[in-house]
C-alpha cells in the first residue's frame, strides 16, 4: 500500500485540517491597492472535499496559493495540518509545499521537456526519494491515476485528460495530506472533466486525502464536493455543505 494517511483522532483539533482566521491578502497593482482576500475565516476537516467557487478575481486562486504556501498572507492566520503558515520561514514553506500539499493547475504545469515519468520523478527528487526507487514509485503513481501506457510520452504528446492525470500523480508523489486543485477541469472537455473529477473523488474517498478545489463550474462542484464556499470580492458570501449551510 503506497499511501497511508494518519487518520484524525477523536477530538476536534486533530480533525481540523485547514483553519483560516481573519485572513487578508492585499497587493499593489501599479498604484492601486487590490484586496484579493478580505478578512475571511473558515475551517476544513480532515478528509473533506471542498469546492471554492466564484467569479474571476473573487480571490479563489489567491486563497489556494496561500494554503499551498506559494504566497504569503498580509494579515490573519492560516493553520494547515496544525502548523501556522503565516509564521513560517521560506525554507519551511518549501517543506510545506513538498510534503503537506500537492497542487494541480488548470494548465497542468508539467515540464514540457520531461516525460510523464520524469515529471513525476522530479517531485520525488525534491522529496528526497533515492534515485533507484524514483522511477518505480513514479510508475506506480501513474498507474494509480490510470496512466499505464503513456508514461514515456512528453506532455505535448498527451491529451488534456492524460496530462492532468500526470499532474495529479505528481501532486500525490510525496504523500500530501491535502490536494489543492486550481480549476483542474478548466481546460478539459465535459467527458474528460467528469473523469478527472471522479478521480479526485476516488482519491478523497480511498486515500482520505483532503481536497480543496477551485472552480467556476458550480454545477459540477455541487455534485462532487461535500461543501461549497462561494467568494465574491475577497469575501465569503456563501458556505454551503451538502448536509446544509454551515
Amino acid at each position: 500500500m503506497l499511501f497511508t494517511y494518519k487518520r484524525g483522532m477523536s477530538f476536534q483539533m486533530e480533525n481540523t485540517m485547514i483553519q483560516v482566521q481573519n485572513l487578508s491578502r492585499t497587493y499593489m497593482k501599479g498604484m492601486v491597492k487590490v484586496h484579493a482576500l478580505r478578512n475571511i475565516s473558515f475551517s476544513m476537516s480532515r478528509g473533506e472535499f471542498t469546492a471554492i467557487v466564484g467569479r474571476s478575481g473573487s480571490g479563489k486562486s489567491t486563497l489556494l496559493n496561500l494554503i499551498g504556501g506559494l504566497d504569503t498572507a498580509t494579515s490573519g492566520h492560516l493553520i494547515v495540518n496544525q502548523k501556522d503558515l503565516t509564521s513560517m520561514k521560506r525554507m519551511e514553506l518549501a517543506h510545506h509545499r513538498r510534503f503537506t500539499v500537492g497542487m494541480i493547475f488548470q494548465s497542468f504545469n508539467l515540464i514540457p521537456s520531461r516525460t510523464a515519468l520524469e515529471n513525476v520523478s522530479l517531485a520525488l527528487t525534491f522529496g528526497n526519494v533515492p534515485g533507484k526507487k524514483r522511477d518505480l514509485l513514479a510508475a506506480a503513481l501513474l498507474s494509480k491515476v490510470g496512466l499505464n501506457t503513456r508514461m514515456h510520452h512528453k506532455p505535448g504528446e498527451l491529451s488534456g485528460g492524460e496530462a492532468q492525470r500526470v499532474a495529479i500523480a505528481r501532486a500525490l508523489a510525496n504523500h500530501p495530506v491535502i490536494l489543492l486543485a486550481d480549476e483542474p477541469t478548466g481546460n478539459l472537455d465535459v467527458k474528460t472533466s467528469a473523469e478527472i473529477l471522479d478521480l479526485l473523488v476516488a482519491l478523497n474517498r480511498s486515500e482520505g486525502v483532503t481536497v480543496l478545489m477551485v472552480t467556476h463550474d458550480e454545477k459540477s462542484a455541487g455534485k462532487t464536493a461535500h461543501r461549497m464556499i462561494q467568494l465574491q470580492d475577497g469575501r465569503i458570501i456563501h458556505d454551503i455543505s451538502s448536509r446544509g449551510p454551515q
Binding site: A94, R97, A123, N128, A173
Partner: protein, 474 residues
C-alpha cells in the same frame, strides 16, 4: 535533494539547450585558450631566459671591474654619487689581486678577461672577429663542455683554437651533417658558400692577424703618429693556429657571454702581440698607474656563494657584477610581462563571463514557469539557486577543459610557425611556450571561479522567481 541530483538536473538543463550551451561554453573555451596561450608564452620566455642564464653559467659567475660603480646611486638618480664613484682612484686588477680572489672561499676559478679584435684567414676567406683568451679549465663548463665538433684545446700554451659557429658563416662555410648530403640553398650558393664536412674543418689551419704598433714607423715620423688617422704607425702580426673544436650555434635566448668568434688558450693568447686596447677610450685612459686587467671573470662553486664572494671582492675595492644582482629585476620584469599577457586572456574570459550571464538570464526567462513548477512541487530557493549555480560551474569546467586543449593546440601551431620563421634567420629551435602544472590547474580553477561568479546573479534571480506569477494561467 542530493548533490548528485542537483548535478543531474543542471546537466539535463544544459543538454536540453545544446546549441546555446555549446556556444556559451565556446566563449569560455576561447577565453581560457587565450589566457593559457598568453601566460604560457610569458612563462616560456622566462624559462628560456633563465635556462640560457643557467646554461651560460651566469648564476655562478661574477665579473670584477676596476671601478666600483655605484649602480644603485645611478639607478636612483643620484648622479653625483654615481659619477663620484668613477672619480675615486681605483686599485689595479693585477696578478696579485687575482691570487687574492682565488684565495676567497667558494671561488672555483678566476681569470682576466682578455679580448681583442683580430682578423682570421682560412679556407681562402677572411673574417673580422673578436679573440678571447680562455684557460683550459673552461673545458668543464658550458658552452665548452658541449662542443658541436672536435675538442677543446689541450693546455693553456698550445696553438689550438675553438671556433664559434657564426665565424664559419662569415668564412662562407656551411657544415654538412655527418653521413648526410646537405645541399646548399640557392641563396647560399649565389653568395659563394660551400659545404664542408666537419672532419675536414677540424684540424685545419687558420691564420690570425692582429695589429701592433710599428716602432720603426713611429721613430721615422713621430709627428704623424699623433696628428693624423691616416697611415697610423701600425703593422700586422700573423700567427697560425689549428682548429680543434667548433662551438654550437647559440640558441636565440642565450645572451652570450662567450660570443667571441675565436677562443684561444690563455697563455698563447696573452702572448700574442697586439695593441692593448679595444677602443680609443682605453687608449686615452691608459696610464702607468692603472696598468692591469680591465676585468676579471670569477667563477664560484655554488650559486649561493655568489653573494658572499662578490661582497669580499667589493671589500677589496673593486666593482662586481653578477646576474644575481639583476635576477630580482628580471623576475619583476617577467611578472609584469605575465600580467600584461594574462590581462588579454582575462579580458577574453570576462567577455565569456558576460556570455554566461546572458545565456543564463535568457534561460531563466524561458524557464520561469518551470522554476515556478519546481517551487510548487517543493523546490526550495536554495535548491533552485544550486541548480543554476552548478550549471554555471559546469559551463566553466567544460570551457576550462576544452580551453586548455585549445590553448595547447594554438601554442603548438604558434611554436611551429614561429620556429619556421626564425629558422630562416638561422636561429635554432626554441620552445616559446611553457605549461607548468600550476598554470594548467590555475587556468581551470580560474575558469570555474569566473563562471561561478557569473552564475551568482542568474542563480539568485532564479531562486527569487515568484511561483504565483510564474504559474499564472495565461
Amino acid at each position: 535533494m542530493t548533490a548528485v541530483d542537483l548535478a543531474q538536473l543542471a546537466l539535463g538543463n544544459l543538454r536540453r539547450t545544446k546549441l546555446r550551451s555549446f556556444l556559451t561554453i565556446l566563449g569560455v573555451v576561447v577565453g581560457i585558450g587565450a589566457l593559457l596561450s598568453m601566460v604560457s608564452f610569458g612563462t616560456g620566455m622566462q624559462k628560456n631566459v633563465t635556462r640560457a642564464l643557467e646554461d651560460n653559467d651566469l648564476f655562478t659567475s661574477i665579473f670584477v671591474t676596476r671601478q666600483k660603480i655605484d649602480f644603485d646611486a645611478a639607478v636612483s638618480g643620484d648622479i653625483e654619487n654615481a659619477i663620484g664613484s668613477f672619480e675615486k682612484p681605483a686599485p689595479v686588477l693585477n696578478d696579485s689581486v687575482l691570487q687574492s680572489i682565488l684565495g676567497i672561499e667558494g671561488v672555483d676559478m678566476a681569470f682576466p678577461e682578455i679580448r681583442f679584435p683580430g682578423k682570421i684567414f682560412s679556407f681562402g676567406q677572411s673574417a673580422k672577429t673578436t679573440i678571447q683568451a680562455l684557460p683550459v679549465t673552461m673545458e668543464r663548463f658550458r658552452p665548452f663542455n658541449s662542443l658541436l665538433y672536435g675538442t677543446f684545446f689541450r693546455n693553456d700554451t698550445c696553438r689550438g683554437a675553438v671556433l664559434n659557429h657564426h665565424v664559419l658563416r662569415e668564412l662562407k662555410i656551411r657544415l654538412s651533417a655527418p653521413g648526410a648530403h646537405t645541399p646548399l640553398s640557392t641563396e647560399d650558393s649565389l653568395r659563394g658558400f660551400r659545404t664542408m664536412h666537419p672532419d675536414s674543418v677540424i684540424g685545419s689551419e687558420i691564420e690570425l692577424i692582429t695589429t701592433i704598433v710599428d716602432i720603426k714607423k713611429v721613430l721615422q715620423n713621430p709627428l704623424q703618429a699623433v696628428t693624423g688617422t691616416q697611415n697610423l704607425p701600425v703593422r700586422e702580426s700573423r700567427l697560425r693556429f689549428r682548429i680543434s673544436g667548433i662551438l654550437p650555434p647559440e640558441s636565440g635566448f642565450e645572451s652570450g657571454r662567450f660570443n667571441a668568434g675565436i677562443f684561444l688558450p690563455f697563455h698563447t693568447a696573452r702572448s700574442i702581440p697586439r695593441m692593448g686596447f679595444a677602443s680609443v677610450w682605453d687608449l686615452l685612459d691608459s696610464t702607468p698607474e692603472n696598468a692591469g686587467y680591465g676585468s676579471v671573470y670569477v667563477r664560484v662553486q655554488k650559486m649561493r656563494d655568489v653573494e658572499s664572494v662578490a661582497a669580499s671582492i667589493r671589500a677589496m675595492g673593486f666593482g662586481t657584477f653578477s646576474i644575481m644582482d639583476q635576477l630580482k629585476e628580471i623576475r619583476q620584469g617577467f611578472l609584469i610581462l605575465d600580467s600584461l599577457l594574462g590581462a588579454v586572456g582575462v579580458i577574453a574570459l570576462f567577455v565569456a563571463a558576460l556570455g554566461i550571464i546572458n545565456t543564463m538570464v535568457m534561460s531563466i526567462l524561458e524557464r520561469t514557469r518551470e522554476i515556478g513548477v519546481m517551487k510548487a512541487i517543493g523546490g526550495s530557493e536554495a535548491e533552485i539557486r544550486a541548480i543554476f549555480f552548478i550549471e554555471a560551474g559546469v559551463i566553466g569546467f567544460l570551457g576550462g577543459i576544452f580551453g586548455l586543449g585549445l590553448g595547447w593546440i594554438v601554442t603548438r601551431i604558434a611554436n611551429v610557425v614561429g620556429n619556421h620563421l626564425l629558422s630562416a634567420q638561422g636561429v635554432p629551435h626554441v620552445r616559446f611556450f611553457h605549461f607548468p602544472p600550476w598554470l594548467l590547474l590555475g587556468a581551470l580553477a580560474f575558469s570555474v571561479c569566473v563562471s561561478l561568479l557569473a552564475g551568482l546573479y542568474p542563480a539568485s534571480r532564479a531562486a527569487r522567481v515568484d511561483p504565483v506569477k510564474a504559474l499564472r494561467h495565461d
